[in-house]
Symmetry: C2
Amino acid sequence: MPKISKKGELMPPSPIRKLVPFATEAKKRGVKVIHLNIGQPDIETPLVVRDAIKNFDYKVLSYLNSEGSEKYRLKLVDYYKSVGANIAADEIIETTGGSEALLFGFMATMDPGDEIIIPEPFYANYNGFATAGNIKVVPITSSIHNGFALPSIDEFEKNITSKTKAILICNPNNPTGYLYSIEELEQLKAIVLKHDLFLFADEVYREFVYDGKKHTSILSMPELAQHAIVVDSISKRYSACGARLGALITKNKDVLATVLKFAQARLSSPTYSEVAAEAALETPASYFEGVNKEYISRRNLLVELLNKIDGVKCPMPGGAFYAMAQLPVKDTDHFCQWMLEKFSHNGSTVMMAPAGGFYATKDLGKSEVRIAYVLESAEIKEAAECLEKGLEQYASEQLTTNN
Amino acid sequence: MPKISKKGELMPPSPIRKLVPFATEAKKRGVKVIHLNIGQPDIETPLVVRDAIKNFDYKVLSYLNSEGSEKYRLKLVDYYKSVGANIAADEIIETTGGSEALLFGFMATMDPGDEIIIPEPFYANYNGFATAGNIKVVPITSSIHNGFALPSIDEFEKNITSKTKAILICNPNNPTGYLYSIEELEQLKAIVLKHDLFLFADEVYREFVYDGKKHTSILSMPELAQHAIVVDSISKRYSACGARLGALITKNKDVLATVLKFAQARLSSPTYSEVAAEAALETPASYFEGVNKEYISRRNLLVELLNKIDGVKCPMPGGAFYAMAQLPVKDTDHFCQWMLEKFSHNGSTVMMAPAGGFYATKDLGKSEVRIAYVLESAEIKEAAECLEKGLEQYASEQLTTNN
């Protein structure tokens, strides 16, 4: 029997999805599973998007241009202007989700053995795209103790080698919810200019910024014109994860020309999705105001309730819709599976993402979980109570087992 | 300025799309461009597909399962049964077009430096997916003189090395239209079993088979259970290229588990597209009968008209909707660009795909073009006349230039 590739063996399973079979079993037993494990918002997709699809008129469902239609990209120019970035239509390449933008960006800039520095914990699928290109991820650890702020410049400098081609940040951050300050972005700018590196920024949560803070796009930093590569997606912004429509944005012409070749190989992004994305740009401002208000009240409730639980620590996130929490357990992989397999409280249990999969350094984050607050407040309350009871029962069972 | 990757430099531009800027210029000058360059069918997408999208009812456009919904994959089981293949739902992984199935299949089975044998001319984008994985394409040349039949077993044996991991065929073939016989597939079976290789088959044109011939899927060959990996797509079958919805099908559990990890990294295929694909399975048989009748009459007309032109040779294709033609010119790259830049006849010109890009061996296919007969007969007639006049004028200009 022919063998799979070494790369395929190395490819990490998704830490967000790997507990799915246990959740499915729990549901079969009649247990209600409260999903805090995946960043799938429950917020309604804007009506203007759903109407555009309903009214989309065509006889032949054709390919798009590989880089996306000019009409849509011209409208994106206005959108990026509204977030402080002066971008031309031909500096945007439409992609099938932010995922494909990452894959194409990695492939266009890095060869097998090249290195990319990423502050950890980070969105686990970055590992997947790096593995696909035989690229080495070099993690720099940020800590729950200062809310996952950017590690010091020294930490970056120490890890830069002749193989380093890029630094990647996610801002606001998934999984930590951390929002990088302008000062932190200036520090990154200094590093990438000094060492002539690419700076990737995954900015798909750009609109989800709280407490009067402001998001800064690296596209708005003129000195980074040849270095900045931004990954974007409509998934979170318009609660349209299923569209799989994103973009790669850069002013670097060589990167654009190279990414276009990868885009041409797969012909085009999905046509329905571009129709949805173009319509989404007409979403009224009131939609975002409502959504952000909702996320803020969920976040405040979640963080308050979690920190009230004995032994739980959860820093206040500044953006996105994730929080990282430290639990009083040794191994959240085991605990999260146990919650699904062995536990229920009033007929419910909670599904969370064990944080180990968000760290590249072995054994880090074993006591942490990522929680996506994509549920209504009543469910968050139920989840927090359920988690508290679960932690109590788990602790007593562990005691019993250890005796 | 940071540099792009070597891989990015090696990435070939699309031979199908590279002349697009010249076509755009021609249109700006008021010239009608008859598009024979791209396999974008003009046939209407089935009404049942368009209705399903219009009536798709949802509040939140959510992710799908990474492998596609069970409901859709269960329906695919029936479809594959209807084409002679006994496949279970969990032997199917939904992909974003056949393109992604190829990329995931390559990544799951081959590491950098590994080799895949592909009879040439072949679909140019195979090069792109191989380059993305630093995989070496080893071409085996098939010839216009026997209608692009499978090269001899000897040719395969001569090219198998310790690095060879797979053979890839496209059946019916893009760009040649060749339909492999059962005898040829049996020969391939013997080779892959003897050398323990994977056999990839791109079968996206499975339904487009003419003259009473029958397509054989490698999925219907039980001895190949651990070796066969099929790439599929709804693009051509239902004239739904813009859906970008395909599948990878195999009975090899290791390959399935590995491909699933790549699928998880990009979360899911587009949700609208799966809705379209599921509806497409309800397309009435009469649709395909009408479509095939149409393609046969176009093919017959095209091949007849082309072979009437002085110095043009075009073998009769057995399937798909492509024909390869040899033209009486030295360099079809130059000629096809000239047709767009310098020539028109009654206000029209013809756009074709120069065949060089479909060969991996340097300088092969320089006199050939790929023609997609995705236009109505009246336009095919106009195109053939236009091509004939173009060839005449080009020949006389070349004579003048050479004196």
